[in-house]
Symmetry: C2
DNA sequence: ACCTGAACACCGTTCAAGT
DNA sequence: ACCTGAACACCGTTCAAGT
């Protein structure tokens, strides 16, 4: 609508890439397509970002800033030491909500090779919660590694089909062939499959599984630090 | 040396790709470079594998077959229910040894979108150990998801610098700038850094951290199933 | 049955050039 | 200061063609 040309900035480039990824997947994010999204030539982007890696780092940073907004900042207050657990848990489940809005994000984050400033501040806040809760820095350090990607609200599934529908189809065909060699899995599918019902994610209810694994770790950490 | 030309097979293609990745990283694995490794043109590969994704699936399958050899097969024997924990732990730490021989493997596995037959048989054996140890299929199912990539012997690190040396340099420069905003991390580094010594992986001893997280989960699972 | 050559569409990125 | 056009090296992949 407007005739005036808004000048490009780093952040407009990042935002455009996020929108593109939300709409068409992270694979559709190329220098050329992001530029097109902004009504500009591909080479213009290089004036604002060093290269594609820097662009993708910026995309991740943008997502964590979205999380920061959601949380109303990374600052926290702890009145009692016992509060670290619900505080950490709530923060992580909020991170998960952000990730669920950008389903391509976990795979992207796993390919990152350097930390972004916002990410560091977020992780610092999680560590801060543990320390305020009575953890030593040493145990806090181990805890952060044990949580791993769960800090950001996603579980590292070993295989994540692009399209859950298509993946399920293919997997089932393959499972049928391999069935004789997979006695326990077949039995598990038989026993667990028809129990679900309200899960929107097929017979694996990822939210419940995420929380199960998260609580296993949080309970274990609680025991490590008080025991 | 030999004048006779060994005909190409799927498995020779996969093996060549593994060797190439070991030598030059997974980024160096292209259809053209794998073909060159085999003294053949790139297009010849398409006679044996459907496309590059299939090739990479085959590479992963090859690694898990290496693990199978190491374990002397995926079969297992459990005399007492209590044995599930050391059995599972040992199997996972063996998987980790295989991964340490192929440091590019975790990143590759994380990009996979479909299971491979050997991988399925391996995971089936882990599930079988749990069930033989007294787990219900339902709890076993949750346990497998909670373990996630740890089943294969690697931890879901959020950022894994390509070159640990280079990564450390850059990170430290960035940490210095951000230090005022990262009070807890700076404190942690100060307290934990000079404790290490025999760690070959910098001030983060990944092996110890992996085992800490693994045991946290195994202990938690033990409690879930007997409690 | 197995391999090849030429060609295509698509990348990220450079560089000198425009305004 | 900000953006562009043309060009380069490199991908995965096709297709018809060779032996």
């Amino acid at each position: 609508m407007s005739e005036l040309r808004i000048p490009l900035t780093k952040h407009r480039v990042f935002d455009a890439a996020v929108e593109l990824a939300d709409r068409s997947g992270i694979g559709a994010v190329t220098m050329r397509s992001v530029a097109a999204e902004l009504g500009v030539e591909a080479m213009s982007l290089y004036y604002h970002v060093a290269n594609k890696e820097a662009l993708l780092d910026g995309v991740v940073d943008t997502l964590i800033r979205e999380l920061e907004d959601e949380l109303g900042g990374f600052e926290f207050e702890i009145d009692e030491q016992a509060e670290w657990k619900p505080l950490l848990r709530g923060r992580i489940l909020t991170a998960r909500e952000v990730m669920l809005r950008h389903p391509w994000a976990p795979a992207l984050i796993e390919t990152r090779v350097r930390m972004t400033p916002t990410m560091l501040r977020y992780l610092d806040s999680l560590l801060g919660i543990l320390v305020a809760g009575g953890f030593s820095y040493d145990l806090g350090h181990y805890a952060m590694h044990a949580l791993g990607s769960r800090s950001l609200g996603f579980n590292q599934e070993l295989f994540v089909p692009d399209d859950p529908e298509a993946g399920a189809e293919e997997s089932e065909a393959m499972l049928a062939d391999l069935a004789p060699q997979l006695p326990h899995m077949m039995q598990m599918i038989a026993e667990v499959a028809h129990e679900g019902g309200d899960s929107t994610l097929g017979w694996c209810d990822y939210q419940a599984e995420f929380e199960f694994g998260l609580d296993l770790l949080l309970d274990g950490l609680e025991r490590s630090h008080s025991g």
